[in-house]
Amino acid sequence: MELVVSIGIGVLTGAGIWLLLRPRTFQVIIGLSLLSYAVNLFIFSTGGLRSGAAPVLEPGTAGSLEQHADPLPQALVLTAIVIGFATTALLLVVLLAARGLTGSDHVDGKEADR
């Protein structure tokens, strides 16, 4: 479980960084999205990974931290998702504006000299 999650986070981060460094604005935005997925998974995993556990409490037992994952990172990740979503939407608008004004989808607004 831990291995799968950490490999997943690693692949997402690697792909995200590669795309982030590409010259097209659309690649950058996809890269940022991938990176934010990776970060969200990472935050989520700090609460502990557990499969098949009860969401909060097993019926008839007193709850303890042994039985469930820490809920706080889940709350944090929710906030981070919402904020990331909003800022990505904002970036999309700027991207379209840049495309319209410069006539190019290069991040610098003009093609690099070759």
């Binding site: 982030l20 604005t25 950058v28 940022l32 990176l35 934010s36 970060v39 990472f42 935050i43 700090t46 706080l72 990172p73 944090l76 906030t79 981070a80 904020i83 990331g84 909003a86 800022t87 990505t88 904002l90 970036l91 700027v94 991207l95 504006a97 840049a98 004004l101 410069t102 991040v107 610098d108 607004g109």
Partner: protein
């Protein structure tokens, strides 16, 4: 404490939130109404900030503790979110509110007509800034950072146009990456320490298991990188000058304090977590701050010298001031921190003033008029003629502009007699004294960097000043209205006030630095949720 005093702490967040929200409801054409609400809110924030300053300064005669803890929903600090008012946060909120009023007043002359929702964005910007300064919780700090950044994206793009979009795109992408780093740092810290409350974290720092300490420090370092990107430390600050120099004037003046938010967060967290000499993490990363700060000063000075453009000069002086502050924090001595806080206040005001001046000075030149015309065209404001300009023009324009510019130059270069010099002096004097007979190497380096950067600033401002005021043809006198020059006057008058009343101001800064360097008092207050009635046994920690 009476009831309303308790709630004053959250007011600087609630007031702009309400004002900004209400303004969204009105049509974009009702600018006078929006301007009225915005101005009322900004003035109210100044009043609130002064109340907070007085509270922070009066509440703790022993200069050890946080002044006021505001627990949202009355949850204990360990579970809920707390707002903490101490001298540092009160000072930063005050600076924000002053900048807010000045930039808003300036924008009423013309800039607030250059795009949609300017007034709402402006209020949200103030809310984010105030929140970031007042919060006592790392994740809450992230949220307010995002509020502040989201508003600043809007403000940086305000007025639209090719240059702004191009710089804004880079600005947004870099800050989004910084936010992701912030999140990574926060989650590592939570994973290891199990808390995000800054005070609780400070307490737990001592008892982190040896095997986990390196990981925790890594997390804090990642978090620090996010703050350093905001502060514009070399090599993380290349986005700063292009973005700020093309932003519309009023926006540039208010977002110029954003880089100080990074400095503030570093100052707060770094001193809270790493200033306990008993802890194994004592002084973690101080060399990085010092060296990075020095490199930033060098880079900023070179940028100042290299530019012919007034707005870029103002942007580069932000870099110099960030670098100076980072290096001063990295030194980690109480007296130096006190001086750095004085310098911070002075440079925040001076940089905002010069950002406002830039447009007024440039207006006389062909270049500035071009930019405005293009902006107007892009936004389709055909009816916006010179005649409809708000306010009365001032007489003796060039003389007043020249004097203001000279004052800004003195402040930025750190020359006597103005407060820029006092700030630098207050940093350097204890630094040189501290080593006794032999002055330590870092003191020499910082001394050299400060003098050299002041010299570079002086050369660059003199050159630009001669170009703008003496070499310009007499028929190009710009038309400047009272509400445009008044904010500059207010900002410079505050700097002058800091110079004249340097004693009391410096006393406040030193008290701030002392309580920052003795974080046990702060931590204890936040965790018990009550400012200690009397000074507790918090041990005095002196610098190395």
């Amino acid at each position: 404490m009476s009831g309303w005093v308790d709630h004053v702490v959250i007011a600087p967040i609630v007031v702009p939130l309400l004002a900004g929200t209400v303004m969204i409801l009105f049509d974009e054409q009702r600018r006078a109404l929006k301007a009225g609400i915005g101005m009322a809110s900004a003035v109210a924030q100044v009043v609130l900030a002064i109340v907070l300053l007085v509270l922070a300064d009066a509440a703790d005669p022993q200069m050890q503790t946080a002044a006021s803890i505001y627990r949202l929903g009355d949850w204990p600090s360990l579970f809920g979110i707390v707002l903490v008012l101490d001298r540092l946060s009160a000072l930063m909120v005050f600076l924000t509110s002053v900048l807010g009023v000045c930039a808003l007043l300036f924008s009423l002359a013309r800039w607030h007509r250059a795009g949609a929702h300017f007034h709402s964005l402006f209020q949200f910007q103030l809310m984010g800034l105030n929140g970031a300064f007042l919060t006592g919780d790392l994740f809450n700090l992230f949220v307010f950072f995002e509020v502040m950044l989201a508003a600043s994206y809007g403000l940086a793009l305000h007025g639209s146009g090719l240059a702004r979009i191009r710089a804004g795109l880079h600005y947004i992408v870099i800050n989004l990456v910084a936010s992701l780093l912030f999140l990574v740092g926060v989650s590592v810290i939570y994973g290891i320490a199990g808390t995000l409350n800054m005070a609780d974290l400070a307490v737990r720092m001592a008892s982190i298991a040896e095997g986990d300490r390196a990981l925790l420090e890594t997390g804090i370092a990642v978090l620090g990188v996010a703050f350093l990107i905001k502060a514009g430390m070399w090599p993380l600050g290349f986005w700063l000058v292009p973005t700020y120099s093309v932003a519309s004037t009023a926006s540039a003046a208010i977002i110029s304090i954003l880089s100080k938010v990074g400095v503030y967060a570093l100052l707060r967290l770094w001193l809270l977590l790493f200033s306990d000499p008993a802890s194994p993490s004592f002084g973690f990363g101080s060399d990085w701050l010092l060296v990075g700060g020095l490199l930033t000063i060098v880079f900023g000075s070179v940028s100042i010298m290299a530019t012919q453009n007034l707005a870029r000069l103002a942007g580069a002086s932000i870099l110099v001031s960030s670098g100076t502050l980072l290096a001063a924090i990295g030194v980690g001595q109480i007296e130096v921190t006190g001086g750095a806080l004085f310098y911070l206040s002075s440079s925040v005001l001076a940089i905002a003033a010069i950002f406002l001046l830039v447009e007024l000075v440039d207006r006389g030149r062909v270049l500035g008029a071009d930019v405005l015309a293009v902006t107007r065209e892009a936004y389709g404001e055909e009816g916006l003629e010179e005649e409809v300009e708000v306010g009365v023009a001032i007489p003796a324009t060039m003389a007043i502009l020249g004097l203001s510019f000279a004052a800004c130059a003195l402040l930025l270069a750190g020359l006597p007699p103005l407060s820029g010099f006092l700030g630098k002096f207050a940093m350097l004097a204890p630094l040189i004294r501290s080593g006794g007979e032999d002055v330590p190497l870092d003191a020499w380096l910082l001394l050299g960097a400060l003098v050299a950067s002041g010299f570079a600033t002086l050369i660059a401002t003199t050159r630009t000043g001669i170009d703008a005021f003496w070499a310009s043809s007499p028929d190009s006198v710009p038309r400047v209205s009272v509400i445009e020059i008044a904010p500059v006057g207010v900002l410079l008058a505050l700097c002058l006030g800091m110079t004249v009343l340097a004693g009391p101001v410096m006393h406040y800064m030193e008290a701030t630095a002392r309580s920052l360097h003795a974080p046990q008092g702060y931590a204890e207050d936040v965790l018990t949720g009550q400012p200690a009635a009397e000074p507790d046994g918090a041990t005095e920690t002196d610098g190395p």
